[in-house]
Structure formats: C-alpha cells, structure tokens
Amino acid sequence: MSKLLVVFKREYTQVVKRKAFIVGIFLTPALMAAFTIIPALLFQSKSNKSVSLAIIDQSGMEIGNKFEASLKKYKIENSDKPYYIVKNIFTLDTNETKRFQHINDSLSQLIVNKKLKYYLVIKPEAYFIDTNIYLVTNAENFVTLNRFEKNLSNILSTIRLEMSHVNLNVDSILTLTKKLDLKTKDAKGNMIPFTVKYFSAYVFVGIMFGIIFGYGQLVMRSVIEEKNSRVMEVLVSSVSPFQLMLGKITGLGAATLTQIFIWFVIGMGIYFMKSTFDFNPAVDRIIFNPVIIIFFILFLVSGYILYSTIFALIGSVVNSEKEAQNFIFPITILMILPFMIGAYIVQEPNSTISVTLSMIPFLTPTIMMMRVIFIAPTLTSYSLFSGIIGEAMIGFFLIVLSIVIMIWLTSKIFRVGILMYGKRPTLPEIIKWIKY
C-alpha cells in the first residue's frame, strides 16, 4: 500500500470517527438555515399584542377620525381584536397653539415612559403640506409605518380630489391612480424574488466558508499537533514531508466530501419526494439547479485544497495555535470579505468590480459562487465558454493554477518548518527555507 494512502487513511478515519463530524453533518445545514431564516422571521414578526396610539388633529377636516376608521381593518393575528387602539383624538382649532403645546408635551412624556407607542400630529393645512403630518414614536416599525403611510395617503388623496371638484367618483379615481407594485421576472419568465436569491447565496457561501475554514484549520491543527508531540520526526523518517502533507490534505478533504455526499443524498431524497413537500418554486430553481450544484462542488473542493495548503504551511512554521492566530487573521479577512461586500456583488453581479474580484483565486470560491447563484437561474442557454459559466470555468482554472503554485511553495517550506521547534521563524528565514 502506498504510504500516501496510509497517511490518507489515518487522517480520514481520525476525522470521520469523531462525534463532531456526525453532529456537523446535521448541525451545519441547520445552523445555516437558522442564520438566514431567523432574521427573516424577526423582520416579519407579528405581535399578538395591540398597539396604542393617540392623534392630535388640527386640520379641521377630521383626518384623525378618518385615519382611526381606516385602522379598524387590522386585527391581531388569529383573533377579532383590533391591532391598533386609538386612545384619544384631540381635535383642536387651528389657533389653539398653547393647548397644542400642552397636549404635545404630555403625549411626548407618555412615549418616553412607554405608555404610548405612537402619536400622530396633523397640523393645519396638512392636506397640501406633507410635512405638516408626522408620527412621533420611539420604536419605528417597518410594517406599521407602511400601513400608516398607505392609509394616510388615501385619506389625503380623497380630500384633495374632493377639493379639486373633479367630476368623477373618488373611489374609481383611487383605483385608477393605484400605485404599481413592481415585481421582477427573468428572461425565462420565471420569477425568483431577490430575497430568495440573496438568502440562498448566503447559505451556499456560508457552507463554503464553514467547510473551507473549518477543515482547513483542522489540517493546520493536525500539523501543529504532530510538531508539538514530536511524532513528526518519526513520520518523516518513514514518509517524505510531501507525502505527509498531501496525505493530510486529501484525507481531511475526503472527510469533507463524505459530509457533502451525505448532504447530497439527503438533497436527492428531498428532490424526488418534493411533490409531497410544499416547495417554494423559486427555492427549488436555485437549490436544484445543476449549474449551481456543479460549481458549488468544484469551488468547494478546489477552494478547500487551496486554503488547506496554506493552513498546512502555517502549521509547519508555528509552534502553537496561539502563534498561528497572527497568520490566520489575513486569511479570515479574505474569507469574510465576500460577506461584507456581498450586498454589492448581488446587486451588480456583472459589474467590472464584481467580475474582477471573482477572478482572484482566493475569492473565487465565494464571490464567483455568489455570482453563479445570481446569474445561473436566469440563463436561457448554456455555453461552457461564455457568460457566467465561462467566467466560472476561468475562475476554476485560476484556482487550480494557484493550487499548483501553493503546493510547490508549501512543500519547500513544510519540510524545513516541521522540524523547527522553539522560536517562531521570521519571514526572511522562511524565504530562505524555500532555497534549502
């Protein structure tokens, strides 16, 4: 049996036997899902408690009362109770500035003391001066703000229409002038909402990050452990450092592939039984898109090899994980960058900046993947040499090229570094090792 295989087998079984591995198989997707779903849920969360508000109406046009009436249609979920409770409407004359001041002050106090959630101020001539209506609150809520805005707009429009004496039924005018809610469709006529693509991109890239970073560090830790326990010298008296390094990287890599294979099997199971699930067709088109799956696996494997080679390099030059932290920091930045600029990439997946960044080998697995997720589902024809697939192929080729260079460089440093105990080498010393 080739020695590479012996090392491979040990590294593989050491990982697969661990409890953490089995837990990880199920926990990672769960965590990823939680990461993306929980914020979405929080965003949409509907309270089952009613919200109290007050209104100061100086308009003289009963805007306050009309507004109160318009809020009656909002109920607490699964009940008949109103969601908004208008505690009081203070109807004032236009010139009652002193009384306005007094009420305004006491309502402010109630807001501060959290006795009241909102109060709406409608000043004179609000029907044509927008700034004369405003809402006072300490806790802005996206949904509530939207509802108030819509209802107040309707009320004001009605007043304006009535005042302009247009000879048409007010309701039909409101229907005629109804605002458009613009939705997007792709070239195939399918519609994948932006949020679905956005969250999928983050899930895929998140898994990529987790595996590359997690298993890459495992390679590093394994090298450090062998240095610290001094078993390293026994190993290199039997196998070449290059075989040892390759055995480690492939052994741990095979463990990640096992993990992904299990996910793939679970995924296929879901795919074939998907009629029994209530599947969002948009999610379906992303998760079960062959282009996305193929590039996900290509980038995951190549990205893992690239990064784990670097981690093996780090492991060989340091003496402890603490020392390694300094080296890991820049790598962490490289890996986290896509999360920071992801919002830009997904909005402009084809801009020069996005394309350029996605061609940098260290960023390709994450940024190119984001672009693939955003563009691939909209493709009408598939070509290996153009469009996003062509670009992703170039990205993949560049990663492979970098892997070759990195392995060459690492193997030079690795064989010296693994037998250096004690002092952490300086960069000039490390460069010298390449020439040994």
């Binding site: 026994v234 008296s237 037998l419």
Partner: protein, 310 residues
C-alpha cells in the same frame, strides 16, 4: 561496509553543524556516535535518515547512494520522542509499521510479542496518553523495531529511561545484534557507549575526534591508569613520582601515570599514609580519551559516575 558517510558537511545559516565527517559502520555491530550536546550527533543522524540533506559529501548503503526504500529498512528513534496521544497502542504500532510498508498482519503478531517483552501487554487497547512517560518511551522503542529493520538508529537512546528499563532495552539491543541487525546510536553519556559498543566515533564541534573499534581506540590511546579509593586526604598522591595527572571524582581518584612508572611502587607510597579501599589498574575510559583528544572544557560532557571497570 554497510553504512558509509563520506566527507559530509552541513551548515545552518552560516553555522557549521557537521564538518567533513567520514565514518564506516560494518554490518551487524553496535556503533556509537559519542560527543557532548551540540556536537552534531543529531544532525548527522538526520542526514543518514535523509530528513536533512548534507550540503556536500555522500551517504552510502552497501556502497550505493541511498534510495527511497532505504527508509523502510531502518528503525529510527529520534531524540525528541512523541506519539499520537489519542491513538491506542495497537493502532499506532500498526500505523508506524504501515508507514514502513510492513504488512499489518505481520505487525499484529509482532505487537503481541514486543508488548509482552516490555511489559505493556495490558495496555494494548489503551490510548497512548494513559501511559506513564517511561512506558511511552518503551512503546516508542518497540515502534522503532517492530517492522524488523536491518538498521536501527537510536538518537540519545537512554535519555528519560530509568535504570531498570535501561537494562531491559540493553538486553533487547544485544539480542538484536546477535540476530544480525546493525545498531547505530548516539549518546553524550560515555559509560553507556563503553558498555555497549563494538565501534565508536567521537565527535566534537561537528568534527570527528577519533573512530574505530572500541578496543583499538583504547589500545591506540595506550596508557593505563589507576583508579583509587582511599580513606583520608589524598592530595599528596599527586606528588608521588611517576604520577602524571590526578583527577578527583565523587568517590574515587583517577591517576594517569608516566609511561615507565611502577604501579607497585606507587601503591607502596600510598599505603604508607592512608588506608586503601580499592586499587584498580584500568584501561583508559572513553571519557579520558575524549578529554585528551578533543580538548573541550570538562564541564561540557558528562563525567562518568562510579567506577569504570571494563
């Protein structure tokens, strides 16, 4: 000649670790590389193992340059010891043997024999971390010889072993030699080499001081010396005619004599003044030879303890 080092040299960032070192190890002998800490022993051994590459010079096995599968025929015990803490004794022994291309079914048979031999059979399925330090040393020693290597290289073999285990390992080494294996070991403790070796090579500051068959080295050095244990103050002994040099140890005195001095006459002079408990005429110890030849500061090497009978 089985193993031959021809003029090897190694520098580490300008510092010469090994300089023009040549030595010849015949098959089936115990060969000791002796020298103080930092003399270049470990570097030499690492070069034999092809872990580090010499800057110049050649290393030959049976007059041919070292090939890749050479590593499979060598058992190597490094100075810095350690094994995977989380593996069981059986697993790690099979793994290390597999790294030498040794089939696992044969390894399993040998494991039972050797574990029993070093009294670790009860721990076969225990993890390495559950063993005491001394037990781990024994385990590592058998991991070195399990795959039946032709050449066994032991760097600072006895460091970290208690006297009982030293005896046990010595017995095994002598047994291995009888079965035709070649054993090369390094130590900075001269007496151990003296007790075990057929051949020696002394090195100091990266250079060879003297080498050859132990008996020949001693004969070449020639002069005998006297070891003396007395009651009372022995300072006067140094002034007796015929005594060239006196070295005081913890519990005895060693005298180096002029070439033609009469040992009987010297003994007579001594009993006139003090009671003699022991009077031995001995061959020169490796320690004496080393001090004489290498001219290194005495505190750099370990003084032998107790007497030095050969």
């Amino acid at each position: 000649m089985y193993l031959k080092l021809d003029n090897i040299r190694k520098e580490f960032s300008g510092k010469v670790a090994v300089n023009n070192l040549s030595l010849e190890v015949p098959r089936g002998v115990i060969y000791g590389i002796i020298g103080p800490n930092g003399a270049g022993k470990t570097t030499t051994i690492r070069m034999i193992m092809n872990i580090t590459v010499p800057d110049s010079g050649k290393i030959l096995i049976d007059d041919q340059s070292v090939k890749d599968d050479f590593k499979n025929q060598v058992g190597y015990l490094p100075e810095e010891r350690g094994l995977y803490k989380k593996m069981t004794l059986e697993d790690i022994l099979i793994y290390i043997a597999a790294l030498k291309n040794y089939p696992s079914n044969k390894a399993k048979k040998n494991i039972d024999y050797w574990l029993t031999r070093v009294e670790l059979e009860k721990y076969k399925y225990k993890k390495v971390e559950e063993l005491s330090k001394g037990m781990q040393q024994k385990l590592q020693f058998i991991s070195t010889i399990l795959h039946e290597p032709d050449l066994i290289i032991l760097d600072e073999l006895f460091s970290g072993l208690d006297p009982l285990n030293i005896e046990l390992i010595k017995d095994i080494i002598l047994e291995l030699k009888r079965s035709g294996k070649t054993i090369l070991f390094s130590t900075h403790v001269m007496e151990q080499a003296e007790k075990l070796c057929d051949y020696i090579c002394m090195i100091s500051r990266g250079e060879k001081v003297i080498d050859g068959r132990l008996s020949e080295v001693k004969a070449q050095f020639g002069k005998n010396s006297i070891q003396l244990e007395i009651d009372g103050d022995g300072q006067f002994v140094a002034t007796i005619p015929g005594v060239k040099k006196m070295v005081e140890f913890n519990n005895y005195i060693e005298l180096q004599l002029d070439d033609k001095s009469d040992t009987n006459a010297i003994l007579k002079k001594i009993i006139e003044k003090v009671t003699v408990k022991r009077f031995d005429i001995v061959e020169p110890s490796l320690y004496d030879i080393f001090i004489d030849m290498a001219q290194v500061p005495v505190d750099k090497i370990n003084k032998p303890e107790g007497s030095n009978h050969v």
